[in-house]
Assembly symmetry: C2
Homo-oligomer: 319 residues x 2
Amino acid sequence: MDAGGTSTRAVLATAQGECIGYGLGGPGNPTSAGPERAAEGVLTAVARALALADAGLSDVTVIIAAMAGQRAGSDAGDWLLRRLEAEGFAGELAFESDLLAIYFSGSAEDRGYAVVAGTGACAVRVRGGRVEATGDGLGWLLGDRGGGFWIGHRVARAALRDLDGAGPSTTLTAAVLDHVGIATDAARGSGRRRDVERLIEALYAVRPVELSRLAPLAFAADDPVAAGILRRAGEHLARTLAGVLDGPGPLVVGGSVLFRAGPVREAFVDHLGGAADGLELRPVVDGAIGAGQLALRAAGVSVTAPVLERLHDSLSRFR
Amino acid sequence: MDAGGTSTRAVLATAQGECIGYGLGGPGNPTSAGPERAAEGVLTAVARALALADAGLSDVTVIIAAMAGQRAGSDAGDWLLRRLEAEGFAGELAFESDLLAIYFSGSAEDRGYAVVAGTGACAVRVRGGRVEATGDGLGWLLGDRGGGFWIGHRVARAALRDLDGAGPSTTLTAAVLDHVGIATDAARGSGRRRDVERLIEALYAVRPVELSRLAPLAFAADDPVAAGILRRAGEHLARTLAGVLDGPGPLVVGGSVLFRAGPVREAFVDHLGGAADGLELRPVVDGAIGAGQLALRAAGVSVTAPVLERLHDSLSRFR
């Protein structure tokens, strides 16, 4: 399973790499959702995947839970293992990095790279099937440059600078005011436009990371300021990858910002320049297939490119 | 009084601009400290100032409370007025902008500019004795470029980039690790150095704005990375001022980042370039004298440069 902060995906596969079940659940990360709610999200996804195959947890030999912040081999998995065992599971449960799952969604090779840009942004170098080096992924306050928060933060700043007369005019301004439900109001109180005061209040009233919700406004805008933000996002992601690059290999790209072809991915590839030689770009939507591959590997299956392709093709029937 | 988030300064002056009392108290801003604690901070400062002059609140005709976020003329002052009246005050209480108090600490003129860089960063244009335009001051998340948080944030990022091998080596790294009490540890877990993991945890464990505590490390370092951060801080502050500049006038600079001569102020003046012509730089330590001047003005006193100088000289006996 690929368990994230908003949803969990469970993939049920045979040792031959045939996906025979797939299920969605709620948030599955105990750090953000709490262990109770995370266990619910995971068990819901698992139950749905099993139901499609008329199977039960007692039929499952290995479960890989790919999620951020869970150390492999730690006791921290008790919150989940006890719940699974109560439902008949008698196999092996292991935790893996969500970034490694993204990587193995697009590659069956033991060595390569992944760049993931969702709300956050991170690059990893994979060697011997493990994460050998990590670039950025420092979170919204300290890094994650080029990710969804970074883009949304720049969108908010561009709107404020436009309203303040400190930056260029941009269609992002109207989009941001509309998004937070504030009407244009150029009247001034204490030396500042009223709409600016209200916008500042609105942006500080939510958790900082929620600024990532403004990122889609940059993708939707047809505007040079928005285009500049997206181009710089792609450049940052290229620099983050460059920090862990060491020779050729598959390059898996995922997360909402990089998965779709578009201005960020174009700028990312452009900025890589010659460093992109020998890298084979493979966009993936999430870590579901990679979690499946990690489970096969944990069960002793030698996963080759045809096996990965079978996982892909057979899963596509379910979603 | 000049009431801030960490302390409150009360200046007791005669209508001739003679400072006859001065007192310090705890936090005086109800937004950050809560009304109860803020009232305590203010009343303590006031009582200490009055005690030095053997006076009581019944002798006071006008009180100006300069603080961030209190609208002039709003009812929000009840938290303070009732407490003052209970101690015998029968005069007039009015709230003013803390930025205007900083300005009037360095100028007796109705028109000019102030740039304040403490934890935050802001520039104001003063016309007719009121704030006519405000630049930046958008808070740590959205702006305050060149202020203490901005500098501390860059210090943290420089240390992380150094440890990650993504940026230049800098003496800030050892200073930051020492500041948060983490030993150097180059061993790697999940593709990242252990000390980097611990530093990230430590920096996210406190409120984001606390990153401003790392700003002094940049001033203390003899290092090109630190010098670059301070130079860019000064350039940002110059750009913020440029956004509200409209003709010559006194330029009052204050706040811990700009008050002292040093690299930030040098870069600030350098970056202003020709725009600095006609601006007379006046560093001030805080808004205490300005609050006093605002009280004299509210009492109908015409404050001239000699009166301001008298306030300065007579206050200097007390601190």
